[in-house]
C-alpha cells in the first residue's frame, strides 16, 4: 500500500508516450495514497504493534521507518503536485516532464523501500538505486553546470555508497563469525538480537565505513562536495526531494547501524564520530553561507548545516536523539517547501544569483512572503518547529555535560543566521529587477506550500502526543 503508488506512477509515466497532463494528476493522487498508508502505519505503532509484511518479515515498519516513510511520502506528494508537467507554462517540455515523472516516482519508491526494508543488504541496494534514479534527473535541462553537478553527484555518491557496502559486508562478517551463516543474517532485527555478541573492533570498523559511506549521501563533511552543486542545479522539485528527504534517508541508514553498534559497544564510539563530522559539517556550511551568491546553493549549504546538527543531536543521549529526530522532520518540511519556492523565484527571475534578485516582495508578494518566512524558519527562529528542535538539542547538550560543544555550535549557527538574513534582505527589498513581470503567476501551487508552513507553525507551538510517542519509540530503538 505504501510502496505501490509511486511504482504505479512511474509505470504510467513510462507508458504514456507523448506526455499528457493527466499523468501528472494521477501521479499526484497516487501520492496521497502513499501518505495515507504512512499515516496508517503510524496508527499501528501508536497502538503498540509493529507492522511487518512479506516472507520472513521482509518489510518492517517500526517507529524510525514510519517517521521517514511519512517524510518521504509528504515530500514525494509535494513533488507530484508541484513538479514539472502539471501546468503548461512551467518551463519544461513534455519529454522532460515525462522523464521527471518516471524517475521521481522510482526514486520515491526506492526511498520508501529503503526505509521499510528489514534487510540491511536490501536497504543498501535501495539507497544506491535512489542515487541512480535521482542522478538522471539532475540534468533535466542539459547545461554545462548541470552536467558537472550530476557527474560529481553520481561519482561521489557511488563511491560513498560502495564504502557503505563495505561497512555492510564487515557487519555481516562480524555476525557470521559469531553465529554462522544464515539466510536472514542481514536482517536488522537479527543483527540487533545478537548485537551484544558482536566483536567490538570489527563492528566499530564497520560503522566507520557506514558513517563515511552513507554520510556521503547525507551530505556530511568532508564528503559533502557534491551537495551544493547537485542541489542547486537540479530542477526545483528534485532539489526539494533531495534536500528534504534523501539526506534524511541516508541518515536513516546510518542510524540503523548506529543502533546495532550502540547495542554492541555502547554509545561512546558513535558519539565521538557523530560529533566530529557533525561539527565539521556545521562549520563548513556556516562559513560557506557567508560568501554565497546563489540562493539555491545557499539553501543547499543550509541542508548540510542541518544534517550536521542532526548528527550532533544523535550524539547527545536520549534527549538529543529525540531532538535530532524532531529536527529531521522539521527540516524536511521546511527545506522542501523552500526549494519549491525557490523554483518559483527562478522561474520568474530567470537567475539563481542573489545579486540579481531584488524586490521579491513587490514582484511576487505571496511567494516572497512565504520565502521570507521560510528562511526565518530554517535559521531557527520561533515560532517555527526548527526553533523547538534546536532548543531541545541544546538542552540535551547541556544535560549531557557538553557546554563547550553547544557554545561552539551556537556560535556557528549564529554565523549562518546572520548570513542568511543578509541574503534574504537583499532579495526581498529594493526595486524589482528590470524586465521581470510583476504579480503572482498561479496561486494554487502556494496552497500545499502554505500547508507545510502551517505544519511548521504547529510544530513550533506544540508537540502533538502521537508524534511524541513516535519519537520516544525511536529513541528506544536507537538504544541510548
Amino acid at each position: 500500500m505504501l510502496l505501490g503508488p509511486p511504482l504505479l506512477g512511474a509505470l504510467l509515466a513510462m507508458v504514456v508516450r507523448p506526455y499528457r497532463r493527466f499523468v501528472g494528476w494521477v501521479n499526484a493522487l497516487l501520492s496521497l495514497l502513499s501518505l495515507g498508508a504512512a499515516l496508517v502505519l503510524w496508527s499501528h505503532l501508536l497502538a503498540g504493534r509493529v507492522p511487518t509484511s512479506g516472507p520472513g518479515e521482509f518489510l518492517r515498519a517500526d517507529a524510525l521507518s514510519t517517521l521517514l516513510a511519512l517524510c518521504v511520502s509528504v515530500v514525494a506528494g509535494l513533488a507530484a503536485w508541484l513538479g514539472p508537467g502539471m501546468s503548461r507554462d512551467d518551463g519544461y517540455s513534455g519529454a522532460e516532464a515525462r522523464r521527471f515523472r518516471i524517475f521521481a516516482n522510482l526514486c520515491a519508491f526506492t526511498m520508501l523501500f529503503a526505509v521499510t526494508s528489514n534487510n540491511v543488504g536490501f536497504m543498501w541496494i535501495a539507497i544506491e538505486a535512489t542515487t541512480i534514479t535521482s542522478a538522471l534527473l539532475i540534468p533535466l535541462h542539459v547545461t554545462k553546470a548541470s552536467v558537472e553537478a550530476s557527474w560529481k553527484y553520481i561519482l561521489i555518491g557511488s563511491v560513498g555508497i560502495a564504502l557503505a557496502f563495505g561497512g555492510t559486508v564487515l557487519g555481516y562478517f562480524d555476525f557470521v563469525n559469531m553465529a554462522g551463516r544464515q539466510e536472514a543474517a542481514l536482517n536488522w532485527t537479527v543483527l540487533m538480537a545478537s548485537a551484544s555478541h558482536l566483536h567490538p573492533e570489527v563492528i566499530q570498523l564497520a560503522f566507520v565505513f557506514i558513517l563515511v559511506g552513507y554520510g556521503t549521501k547525507a551530505g556530511l563533511a568532508p564528503m559533502h562536495t557534491w551537495l551544493p552543486d547537485a542541489h542547486s542545479e537540479a530542477p526545483a522539485a528534485l532539489s526539494a526531494v533531495m534536500s528534504g528527504v534523501m539526506l534524511a534517508v541516508a541518515l536513516y541508514a546510518v542510524i540503523r547501524w548506529e543502533a546495532v553498534v550502540n547495542a554492541s559497544v555502547g554509545t561512546g564510539f558513535t558519539d565521538g564520530l557523530y560529533i566530529a563530522l557533525g561539527v565539521l559539517s556545521i562549520g563548513i556550511a556556516s562559513f560557506s553561507l557567508v560568501i554565497q551568491r546563489n540562493y539555491k546553493r545557499m539553501l543547499a549549504y543550509s541542508s548540510i548545516e542541518h544534517t550536521g546538527l542532526v548528527c550532533v543531536g544523535l550524539a547527545l543521549g536520549p534527549l538529543g536523539t529525540f531532538a535530532a529526530m524532531l529536527h529531521l522532520l522539521n527540516h524536511t518540511l521546511a527545506k522542501s517547501m523552500m526549494f519549491f519556492l525557490a523554483g518559483r523565484v527562478l522561474h520568474r527571475y530567470g537567475t539563481t544569483e542573489i545579486g540579481r534578485v531584488s524586490g521579491l516582495l513587490k514582484v511576487m508578494p505571496w511567494t516572497g512572503g512565504l520565502f521570507a518566512v521560510g528562511i526565518l524558519a530554517v535559521i531557527g527562529l520561533p515560532p517555527f518547529g526548527l526553533f523547538i528542535s534546536e532548543f531541545a538539542l541544546f538542552r540535551a547538550g547541556f544535560a549531557a555535560g557538553r557546554p563547550w560543544l553547544m557554545g561552539l555550535v551556537l556560535a556557528l549557527l549564529a554565523v549562518a543566521f546572520v548570513s542568511m538574513i543578509g541574503h534574504l534582505n537583499r532579495m526581498l527589498y529594493g526595486a524589482p529587477t528590470a524586465g521581470v513581470a510583476v504579480g503572482e503567476a498561479s496561486r494554487w501551487p502556494l496552497i500545499p506550500l502554505g500547508i507545510c508552513m502551517t505544519a511548521l507553525l504547529v510544530l513550533g507551538i506544540t508537540l502533538p502526543p502521537p508524534l511524541q510517542t513516535l519519537l520516544r519509540q525511536i529513541v528506544e530503538i536507537v538504544g541510548q
Binding site: 541496494i125 542515487t131 552536467v147 557527474w151 563511491v159 557496502f165 564487515l170 570498523l205 552543486d229 546553493r297
Partner: protein, 218 residues
C-alpha cells in the same frame, strides 16, 4: 587441502591487487580497461576456488555473474567509450606516478593495519587475503580522488567494487545470493548512468577532463 585453498586465495587476491596498481603505474586508458578486465576475471576465479573448497554452490553463480558483468559487458562498454573519445593519455594527474606508487604502498600497509581485527577474528582459510582486498579498496579510492579523466575515475570506482566483492568472498564466502543479485544490478545501473553522463560531458565540454568541471565553486 586447507593450505592449498589458503594459498590459492592469497595468490588470487594478490593478483587482484596488482591489477589495481596498474591504474597508478600506466598512463593510458586502454591499459586501465585491460587491467580491470583481467582483475575481474581473476576475481571470478577466486570466487570459483572458494566455491569449490568452501562447498558453497551458490558462489558458482556469483562467479558466473561477475565474469559476465565485469569481465565482458562492462569492459565492452568501456572500450566503446574509449574509442569514441580520442585516446587522451592521463597526462599530469594531480599526483605523479612515483608518489602515487609510494602512496599506494602506504595504503596497502594501512589496509593490513585496518584488517587486523578481521583476520584475528576469522576462522576461514581465506582470511589471509582480506588485507589485500582492503588494500585494493583504499588504492581505488585514491585513484578516484587523484585522477582527472572521467573514464579513469569510473574504472577506479569499478575496481573499488571489485575490492569489496573480494572482501565479501574472502571474509564470509559471499553474501546471500539474493542480495548479491541486487548488488550486480545496482553496479550495472550505476555504470550505465555514468556512461550516459560521460557522453553528456563530452557533448557539452568537448573533452572528458574533469578539471574542466570547475564552474561550480563555493
Amino acid at each position: 587441502m586447507d593450505s592449498v585453498f589458503s594459498q590459492l586465495s592469497v595468490l588470487g587476491s594478490s593478483l587482484v591487487l596488482i591489477f589495481g596498481l596498474i591504474l597508478l603505474w600506466r598512463r593510458g586508458v586502454t591499459a586501465y580497461i585491460s587491467a580491470f578486465t583481467w582483475q575481474s576475471v581473476v576475481l571470478s576465479g577466486v570466487t570459483v576456488v572458494v566455491a569449490y573448497f568452501g562447498n558453497d554452490p551458490e558462489l558458482y553463480w556469483v562467479a558466473v555473474g561477475l565474469l559476465l558483468l565485469k569481465g565482458l559487458v562492462i569492459p565492452r562498454l568501456l572500450r566503446r567509450m574509449e574509442r569514441r573519445f580520442p585516446a587522451e593519455r592521463e597526462l599530469e594527474p594531480y599526483v605523479n606516478t612515483a608518489t602515487s606508487l609510494v602512496v599506494s604502498g602506504l595504503l596497502v600497509l594501512f589496509g593490513y593495519a585496518v584488517t587486523r581485527p578481521l583476520v584475528a577474528l576469522s576462522q576461514l582459510p581465506t582470511r589471509a587475503g582480506m588485507p589485500l582486498a582492503m588494500g585494493l579498496v583504499l588504492v581505488s579510492l585514491f585513484v578516484v580522488i587523484s585522477r582527472k579523466k572521467a573514464l579513469t575515475q569510473v574504472v577506479g570506482f569499478l575496481m573499488l567494487e571489485n575490492g569489496l566483492a573480494l572482501l565479501a568472498v574472502l571474509g564470509t564466502y559471499g553474501i546471500p545470493l539474493i542480495v548479491e543479485l541486487g548488488v550486480f544490478l545496482d553496479v550495472l545501473m550505476g555504470f550505465l548512468v555514468m556512461q550516459i553522463f560521460i557522453y553528456q560531458i563530452h557533448e557539452t565540454f568537448e573533452s572528458i577532463d574533469v578539471e574542466q568541471l570547475n564552474r561550480l565553486r563555493h
